[in-house]
């Protein structure tokens, strides 16, 4: 079972598609959660997920706005997608009957 931050990272990487790399994922997580995402948390989580076989990373192109430094690109594996879906299903199941989940159906969100 994934952790909350692992799920956020995988979801952000999937939504970014081919442009999923450290800085972009960090920005997406911060924009979505409105919370600061540290580089330490991001890269240690990426490593952990890679060790579990849930994502793959490789060094990508360098760009001028990065001072000519390479990006660490991220791609979610099918195993990672399944793990994220399992997490999402579990959250949905456990949320049934919760007031905020009921409100959602009534258009509160």
């Amino acid at each position: 079972m994934l952790g909350e931050f692992e799920y956020l990272l995988i979801t952000a990487a999937v939504s970014l598609g081919e442009n999923a790399y450290g800085a972009a994922i960090r920005e997406a997580i911060e924009a979505t959660t409105k919370r600061k995402c540290s580089i330490g948390a991001l890269y240690t989580t990426i490593d952990r997920l890679e060790t579990k076989g849930l994502l793959q990373t490789w060094m990508g192109d360098a760009t001028p706005q990065r001072g000519g430094r390479s990006k660490r690109m991220v791609r979610i594996t099918p195993k990672g997608t399944r793990a994220a879906k399992d997490f999402y299903d579990a959250v949905m199941r456990v949320s049934r009957g919760a007031s905020w989940a009921t409100n959602r159906g009534e258009g509160a969100l």
Binding site: Y21, G22, A23, R26, E27, S38, I39, G40, A41, Y43, T44, M59, A62, T63, Q65, R66, G67, R69, S70, K71, R72
Partner: protein
């Protein structure tokens, strides 16, 4: 980022791997983070990386099973070698005194020197090869008893630095491990056998068994065991980072 900021971040990021350093510095620049924010982020990552390393057994063994006890044992042998060499060099201890000759016998002296060299080199090599990224912790754990003993050294005939004869071979062992953790089986086996025989000889000669000296044995045999596993032309290094 200014040049100073780049330099500061560069130094901090050097503690990370080269690819990670590249990616992290690029991310910081792209995000337009301030110098201190960048240093803070990199420091956070380094701390997390170090904490991750300590979830494995290797740093514990390298630091508390090797650097700490071996430094104590090697300091003892260093002092013993220094005293014996002083006795051998001083003619008054030899001329007309058969008891002095037996006391400062050459064979135990040679055994002590071999133990000092082989034990320190093997210890340094194993510390460097099993946990190179926590080497600084092992170095601190080695230095702590050294500083303690240096501050309390009371043998007037010897310099207090005679405690530290093991440092040079130990550093050579670490450097060798960092450069290449491959050691030929034959030299490793010979040095381990010589070290073990010297230790047994000294124990039998003194009639006492020094348990701390036993800490010097296993690194030498670990070098033998790891040398056996290493295949030539293999890209897989027997290291743990």
């Amino acid at each position: 980022m200014t040049n100073g900021a780049r330099t500061l971040n560069g130094i901090a990021a050097r503690l990370l791997g080269s690819e990670e350093c590249e990616a992290v510095l690029g991310d910081l620049q792209e995000a337009g983070e301030s110098v201190w924010r960048g240093v803070l982020e990199i420091s956070g990552l380094i701390v997390r990386r170090q904490l991750q390393l300590w979830q494995h057994w290797q740093p514990w063994v390298a630091g508390f099973g090797l650097a700490l006890p071996c430094s104590l044992a090697l300091m003892g042998i260093s002092v013993s070698v220094s005293r014996t060499s002083l006795g051998l060099l001083d003619p008054r201890t030899l001329i007309g005194s058969t008891s002095a000759v037996s006391r400062y016998a050459v064979l135990p002296f040679i055994c002590q020197i071999l133990m000092l060299l082989a034990g320190a080199w093997a210890g340094g090599f194993v510390v460097g090869s099993i946990s190179r990224r926590t080497l600084w912790v092992s170095a601190v754990l080695c230095c702590l008893p050294c500083l303690f003993c240096l501050s309390r050294f009371r043998i007037e005939s010897l310099s207090r630095f005679s405690l530290l004869l093991f440092v040079v071979p130990a550093i050579m062992g670490v450097r060798r491990a960092l450069r290449s953790p491959q050691v030929g089986l034959r030299p490793a086996a010979i040095s381990a056998v010589v070290l073990s025989l010297c230790m047994i000889f000294l124990w039998s000669n003194s009639g006492r068994i020094y348990m701390l000296d036993g800490a010097l044995i296993w690194p030498a045999w670990y070098v033998v065991a790891s040398a056996r596993r290493i295949r030539p032309q293999s890209d897989e290094l027997n290291t743990w980072e």
